[in-house]
Symmetry: C2
């Protein structure tokens, strides 16, 4: 059986997981690909550090050219997790005619478009299944399994850290700060949690999902992004009283050939399949014109789940090599990129206000919404101390533009403070 | 752009859905395949009947040879739903060098092995994504997305009719008979519901899932099958008291290179992702050594979901045609078929007994279980009238052999009646 050699850039948890799976599942993999696939060389940062998976004989180097320039290596796995250096190495690898598999969502979200072009020019495969929702094979499912369908909406819990925190805040009533601390102690959150809690990580994944689901290249700036930093346990309890669970969702939807992508805390009915996704798990919910509602659930991160997706990509490269069909884009579905205007982006919203308990304040508030043609489907008023009341509104469907106009005018009203507004999905 | 003509055998809901999707999603499909794909001829039973999707110009015939023998047709879609005639037509199609896409689970469960061989001999593609879990692209996910992994267990809610009935019995307390009647009125269940309620339909799907997940050819006779006909609302309530939901699951699991496949009512913790799958929806839960727990959820049937899976298969055939790679098996993972012995098939069980309320009966019962080394993790005793008590036991893990031995000896004890036993998954 002929060999296919793999070079790995980066030897953290995912890199060593790749070495391990290729070794442990050798017989299945060689049977389905017809190749003996193994990692022969690994780029590490520190040659003196001990390796996590010592059983397999792998050459180690701290010089990237030793790996990228090795003519016996045909597949490069990039699992370093930075952006600039990874971009440089991946470009060099593709130009050297190597197929590339990467788990790097930041790289693909920011530079995917150019890398896909370079890969095609060099007749190379470029796959990145592990970049979104770790162990869930969601990208390949969208590209192949749902190929026949016209997708209308893709909603995902695509950040495990914030889902873990929200689960703790919901089920144990932990504060944001305590939930964050637990996530940090368990290694789910970085010491600087900005990328997770402000929705940036989720937004990057949504850029990738949008490209494959709708064939459109949106940039990170196009994603309207709100994280969970300002979310309180009070709001979670209010949502619960109204029959909803709050999840941080990435939502990409298409309407008349234009797409809107956002990341926002979202109220979901408790019976919605995404409501039951707990802890650090991820799930992507897809609405197709024909297939209807399908959902894909699993671990969003972790050494072996992520490595398993990387190895599935390697297997696809190997099959393509056997069939002589390398160099076709992961997805050939390309559509002119049109961004849905805020006036056409319709949704229901949860709005939380604080109002002085004075005659006329409620009327003023109602007027501001009515001026923007926003109706209410539910209202909950809770008395508070200091003559202040908390009012929670679930609106009927309205445009993002109208909602923002209403909230802007409300901010100028005395006696009314807008605490927060989140999306509601049914 | 060159054309690819499709002939459809059977023009019920799925057949007309295929015509419709190929027409409505024409531009996306031609972009990703490079072909103008259309249905040009359809086999119907009755030429005088009106067609469901009239907008597309399709020739209709009641002679199968008009379709199979048409040299301008390269892909045959079989959506007739019988076994013998479908088998004959599919064989003829493959031998005539046509690629075949079928939604026929019975055909694939019973004759898949031979058809796969004939397809390969004739350099033809044979795909059957729609045969399991309608609109969920589960087969392709197992074959490609999870290719790198060593799967350990596949558990599925793969019959929508019984899941609908169990949902009604659980949430509304309907009796089995009333739930069945509702399912029949809504068109989910046939007038003779045997295949659904006795688990036969689920068993056929598990044969297909087992082939792709573990590379093993089990026959229907190898699947230990219990349906829901004997399940009572009382049992659902007892399970609920113990924190469980009852679902009809197909379970295929591998242990030391041997596989066990069963269909059985199963108690799942309410927090298990499969517990939240309601109504006629399907879901398949996969446990992989590396990827961990993933789940795939969606509609199990229906015109457009099923047709959407058929069209995804057609798209794969088209891509293969473009690349010149037809004739490779859907899955090339083949493993020697070993059946796990009942003594090695371990699980926890729910056992429901009726016992006369007499000194010594409980001791006798406990002795019979202890003799087979079966321990109890939970016991619930409910007093009833006529000096009879209902006792429910959740056992510790035991082998299927030991459970059956214990139940056999219990049946010979006076004052003890074994009402039912179901599996418990944690």
């Amino acid at each position: 059986m002929s060999s296919l050699n793999v070079g790995v850039l980066g030897f953290g948890t995912v890199g060593s997981g790749v070495v391990r799976i290729l070794d442990e599942h050798k017989s299945k993999i060689s049977q389905i690909t017809g190749y003996d696939i193994k990692v022969t060389k690994v780029l590490v940062r520190d040659l003196t550090k001990t390796r996590r998976y010592e059983d397999v004989d792998v050459a180690v180097t701290d010089n990237a050219n030793d790996v990228i320039g090795d003519p016996s290596i045909s597949i490069i796995v990039e699992v370093m997790g930075t952006i600039d250096i990874a971009y440089d190495y991946v470009l060099k690898s593709l130009r050297a005619g190597k197929h590339v598999v990467t788990a790097n969502k930041d790289l693909i979200a920011l530079h995917g478009d150019h890398l896909i072009t370079v890969a095609r020019e060099n007749n190379c495969d470029l796959f990145y299944e592990a970049s979104v929702a770790g162990g869930i094979p969601i990208l390949r499912t969208i590209v192949n399994g749902l190929a026949s369908d016209h997708l209308k909406k893709v909603m995902g819990i695509v950040n495990g850290t914030t889902n873990f925190m929200l689960t703790k805040m919901t089920s144990e009533g932990l504060s944001y700060e305590t939930a964050l601390k637990q996530a940090q102690e368990l290694g789910f959150a970085e010491s600087d949690p900005t990328n997770d809690v402000d929705g940036i990580d989720a937004a990057r994944k949504m850029v990738i999902l949008t490209r494959l689901s709708f064939g459109m290249n949106v940039s990170l700036d196009d994603v309207s992004t709100t994280g969970i930093r300002q979310l309180t346990v009070d709001e979670i309890k209010l949502a619960d009283q109204l029959g909803y669970t709050i999840k941080l969702l990435g939502i990409a939807e298409e309407h008349n050939g234009a797409v809107d992508v956002c990341v926002t805390p979202t109220l979901l009915p408790k019976t919605h399949p995404l409501s039951g996704v707990h802890n650090e798990n991820n799930a992507v919910f897809v609405l197709g014109e024909a297939a209807g509602e399908t959902m894909y659930y699993g671990p969003g991160a972790g050494e072996l789940p992520t490595a398993s997706s990387v190895v599935s990509d390697i297997i696809t490269v190997a099959k393509n090599t056997k069939l002589g069909t390398n160099g076709n884009a992961f997805s050939s579905y390309v559509h002119e990129t049109n961004k849905l205007a805020d006036k056409d982006c319709l949704a229901k919203y949860f709005v939380r206000l604080k109002m002085t308990d004075e005659t006329g304040t409620f009327l003023k508030m109602t007027q501001r919404f009515t001026e923007q043609k926003i109706g209410f489907s539910r209202i909950l008023q809770l008395p508070e101390s200091n003559e202040q009341a908390t009012v929670v509104i679930i609106t009927h469907e309205t445009s993002r533009e109208n909602l923002h106009l209403a909230l802007e005018t409300l901010k100028n009203e005395s006696g009314i403070v807008v605490n927060s507004h989140y999306r509601v999905e049914d």
